[in-house]
């Protein structure tokens, strides 16, 4: 029996080493994760107080006749036992049908597809900006002497500790109200993107910067950097050719997690800046107890998270050749 387990482990390890194998293992895992996510959300939404049938007919407090409620319950299958509803929902999900929104009276899949782009753009831009800020901060603070070091590490800690809602408000007050440079709500043009992206990017940059600076310092102290200096490599070469790549490795592996945190940050940011997107859709759906939309959004986010983790793994292989051969 232990032999079989060991055999399975070594097969799994062998699979993970090749890129197609890694993707296969990840996809199987993804299926499992999505199932768990669908199950958890399905039951969690049921814990919200109130009658879903009322929500369908115009939300809590609306004057609805018992007959209308009963009709709605029958139409949406809400009168069936919970487990039957759960199985029916799973069955629909397997066929790719995310169901129909209670509140908006339209199919969930196209609804989410319409919102996905905005949120993805926000998250990807924020990740890119966070990386850029972290890189600049880490390189500058390890180079400019003691003062820069203290200032850099202080900035990182402060920005990592900033809550999104506070930062968003502060940015609006500063850039929209006082300076009047940028719109306080998200508009279609690029100017409307600046504040939301900054709100998401700055705290993340603090996190990434701390990690990058740490590993950059470790790399700069290492014997291979001394060897390179002894060959006549200059300070810029030391950083670009040798040290930065080492500094980036842990930050890359964190980026998968960071992407997940950006999506959850998007809920806050999209609401504050009145920006259409998955986050706002999710918040609205939870408020009116729109179960299909909640489940659908969470599934899409989970899928995005899984894909991002996979991308991170592939990026790590690209940046760290040792992972390819091991």
């Amino acid at each position: 029996m232990p032999d079989a387990a060991a055999q399975a482990r070594s097969t799994l390890r062998a699979l993970r080493r090749s890129v197609p194998g890694l993707i296969l293992v990840r996809l199987v895992g993804a299926g499992f994760v999505l199932w768990m996510v669908a199950t958890l959300t399905f039951f969690a939404v049921r814990l919200i107080p109130g009658d879903p049938a009322e929500a369908i007919l115009g939300g809590p407090g609306s004057q609805t006749s018992p007959a209308a409620l009963a009709a709605v319950r029958a139409e949406y299958g809400l009168d069936l036992p919970v487990f039957t509803q759960y199985l029916a929902q799973l069955g629909r999900l397997v066929t790719g049908d995310l169901g129909r929104s209670y509140a908006l009276n339209q199919d969930v899949a196209p609804l989410l597809a319409g919102q996905l782009g905005g949120t993805l753009l926000l998250a990807v831009l924020a990740l890119a900006v966070a990386w850029l800020l972290a890189l600049v901060l880490a390189t500058w603070s390890t180079r400019g002497g003691r003062f820069a070091w203290f200032l850099g590490s202080g900035l990182e800690i402060v920005s990592a500790a900033l809550p999104h809602f506070w930062l968003a408000t502060a940015l609006i007050v500063l850039f929209s109200v006082w300076l009047g440079w940028l719109p306080p709500v998200s508009t279609a043009g690029p100017a409307g993107l600046v504040l939301p992206v900054l709100t998401l990017a700055v705290p993340l940059a603090g996190f990434l910067g701390q990690i990058m600076r740490e590993s950059l310092l470790a790399a700069l102290e290492s014997p291979f950097v001394l060897s390179a200096r002894a060959r006549g490599e200059g300070e810029r070469g030391i950083r670009w050719v040798h040290a930065l790549r080492h500094a980036a490795l842990p930050a890359i592996s964190l980026s998968g997690w960071a992407f997940g945190s950006l999506i959850s940050g998007a809920v806050v940011v999209e609401t504050i800046f009145a920006r259409p997107g998955l986050g706002r859709t999710l918040l609205n759906a939870v408020t009116v107890r729109d179960v299909p939309v909640v489940v659908g959004t969470v599934l899409v986010v989970a899928l995005g998270y899984i894909l991002m983790t996979l991308l991170t793994d592939l990026a790590q292989r690209l940046a760290d050749p040792r992972l390819r051969t091991r």
Partner: protein, 639 residues
């Protein structure tokens, strides 16, 4: 002092010139590749204050190898880095003269330094695994100097890289150049690192402990490679703590102690007739060819002598050592205290294939003797140690301790509980003492932990109540004892963190006994392992191993990360302890010199198997297996 040493260096300068071929000497006055006069280096804001290197002077002529030898902390590496202008941002440097080739490098700008590094001087560091960028192919690392200092195109650089790889003895350069340092063996890495340092044929090469992390056969190859460079006219500054290693290729030796050169002269003269006590101490410390029981630390530093005075006061032992006779020498058949039979341990490689790290190994350790197990890296020595300590499960075979089965292949899950009763009989000393300690614990905590965890023995004091100290006889039920010990450990841990050790405490007494036994002062109890020297750490490691009063000591490379002189002290200590306590020792090392010095019996391991075993004198005197002969041939010897 500085004037004096400068003068002595001047007087030595003609030496290397005279040693060169007559043609070279006749053509022109030899320009040394490096010329150092009255160099002082230190760290801190105040130039001139607390120097690490003080007033040293030397020359290296083309085609000459000067060995800079000293114990750790003597200033060797700081000297090497100063010659490259890489002493660091916080360093200050003063010298009357510092010249590389024809022009001085004192007070030159960083940009000017960059032009000189790699072109006028190359650097080879210890352990190329971390001295080559692990993310870049070695071919790129080697091509770096060419990229920085020449206008060669990519193709020309590649051709030159292949040429360099061939020159340092790495054939199949096309393939090797594409590999990263992690994919090469230790010897290949060191060769690649040398190739990177000599890419521009610098007339001067600094090699800082270039062979310290290497197996003895690989070490011999690397030294041959350096000797070959020397023959082609490169001046080499070889930095090492081991006189036996430098003796192989150095023309002259400069001995560095506490930042000063205490002795400088031709290799043969320094090795044959050392003048300074430091040199004599370093020579005495080399274990190779020294008979079992002969002390390696004849000349002790004054501080150490005071520490060890108590132990060395016994005249009888001194007489033993003089005679070179070891009381533990096997007279008749002795009791076997540790026995391994047919041990096998297999590992699955990442690619799925199965490799036997230990393959059918059997040995017997007799009471009061030392069994030395010697092998190069990858031979399975450490896996064997883990099997013996039952830290890894054997796939076949068994280990018996004091006649009782200790670790058996295919044993049931609950076997560890039974084994725990025997565990105190085995003490373990590891190579990297530092990483075997919890860095947050003080030395006192580490030892208290070991003493408190003891389940056998006679006089463990255990506190049953946190307010009332009661000494409990530990012959009572083991479970009771363990809980009591655990509680006292927590309480005493707190107390010793407060800085005071309860002197009435029996555990405290035992801890001081242990410290005495390993020659450490009680003042170290409140220090943390990180603040100790390498030798002190290993002494604490030995004290911890002795805490449970074991009959058997398993030492896995106990001196491999130590300087030769510190190694000598630790080896002497182990020898004394073995005699005083009647210990049986399983001593595992890659160093044949060490094994020869400490062992009664020797087993030579290769690829997981014991290829030859027997009495030490027999294995070293008349080796039967060709592998043993090859290993012995590669051992650096004095003179």
């Amino acid at each position: 002092m500085s004037a004096e040493s400068a003068e002595s260096a001047e007087s030595l300068a003609p030496g290397p010139a005279a040693a060169l071929p007559a043609t070279a000497a006749a053509a022109a006055p030899i320009v040394p590749v490096v010329r150092v006069r009255n160099l002082s280096v230190g760290f801190g804001p105040e130039p001139g204050a607390s120097p690490v290197v003080e007033g040293i002077s030397f020359d290296v002529a083309p085609g000459e190898c000067l060995a800079l030898v000293g114990e750790s902390g003597s200033g060797k590496s700081v000297t090497a880095r100063s010659l490259l202008g890489l002493a660091g941002d916080t360093a200050w440097l003063r010298a009357d003269e510092l010249t590389l080739g024809a022009s001085g490098v004192l007070e030159i700008s960083e940009a000017a330094w960059r032009c000189r590094r790699g072109r006028d001087v190359g650097l080879v560091l210890q352990d190329a695994l971390v001295s080559l960028d692990p993310l870049r192919p070695v071919g790129r690392e080697i091509a770096d100097s060419l990229r920085l200092h020449t206008r060669l195109g990519a193709a020309a650089r590649h051709a030159r890289v292949l040429e360099l790889l061939a020159r340092v003895g790495l054939p199949d350069g096309e393939n090797q150049a594409r590999k990263r340092s992690g994919e090469l063996s230790g010897g290949q890495r060191q060769r690649a690192l040398i190739a990177a340092a000599i890419a521009l044929d610098p007339p001067f090469l600094i090699a800082d402990e270039p062979t310290t992390a290497l197996d003895v056969t690989v070490q011999a190859q690397i030294l041959d490679l350096l000797a070959d460079l020397k023959r082609r006219g490169t001046g080499i500054l070889l930095i090492s703590h081991d006189l036996a290693v430098v003796g192989r290729i150095a023309d002259r030796i400069a001995v560095l102690s506490e930042g000063r050169i205490v002795e400088q002269g031709p290799t043969a003269a320094v090795l044959a007739a050392p003048e300074d006590p430091v040199t004599r101490r370093m020579l005495a410390a080399v274990p190779v060819d020294k008979p079992r029981g002969l002390r390696l630390t004849a000349q002790l530093a004054p501080a150490l002598t005071a520490q060890l005075a108590l132990r060395d006061a016994e005249p009888a032992r001194a007489v033993d050592a003089e005679a070179g006779a070891h009381p533990a020498a096997p007279a008749a058949a002795r009791e076997v205290v540790l026995e391994a039979t047919g041990l096998v341990k297999r590992f699955t490689r990442p690619d799925g294939s199965v490799q036997a790290a230990v393959d059918d190994v059997s040995f017997r350790l007799e009471r009061g003797t030392t069994l030395g197990i010697v092998g190069e890296s990858g031979s399975g020595k450490t896996t064997l140690a883990r099997l013996v300590l039952a830290l890894a499960r054997p796939d076949a075979g068994e280990v018996r301790v004091l006649g009782e089965p200790f670790s058996v292949a295919g044993e049931r899950a609950g076997a560890e509980k039974a084994r725990r009763l025997l565990r105190p009989q085995l003490g373990a000393v590891y190579q990297d003492a530092l990483s075997s300690f919890d860095p947050r614990l003080t030395v006192g905590d580490v030892l208290r932990d070991a003493v408190g965890g003891r389940t056998g023995g006679t006089t463990v004091g255990t506190t049953v109540d946190t307010t009332v100290d009661t000494t409990v006889d530990t012959t009572v039920d083991t479970t009771v004892d363990t809980t009591g010990a655990g509680r006292s450990r927590g309480r005493d841990g707190l107390r010793s963190r407060g800085g005071s050790v309860d002197r009435s405490d029996a555990a405290g007494r035992r801890i001081r006994e242990l410290l005495d036994a390993v020659g450490l002062p009680a003042s170290l109890l409140t220090r943390r392992p990180l603040s100790l020297s390498g030798g002190q750490r290993q002494r604490v490691g030995i004290a911890r191993a002795l805490a449970s009063e074991p009959q058997i000591l398993i030492c896995d490379e106990p001196v491999s990360s130590l300087d030769v002189t510190v190694q000598a002290q630790v080896l002497d200590l182990l020898d004394d302890l073995q005699r005083d306590l009647g210990l049986s020792v399983l001593f595992i090392s890659h160093d044949l010199g060490v094994i020869q010095h400490v062992s009664d019996r020797v087993a030579v391991m290769r690829d997981g198997r014991i290829v030859e075993s027997g009495a030490a004198g027999q294995v070293f005197g008349a080796p039967q297996h060709p592998y043993t002969r090859a290993l012995l041939g590669a051992v650096p010897r004095l003179g």
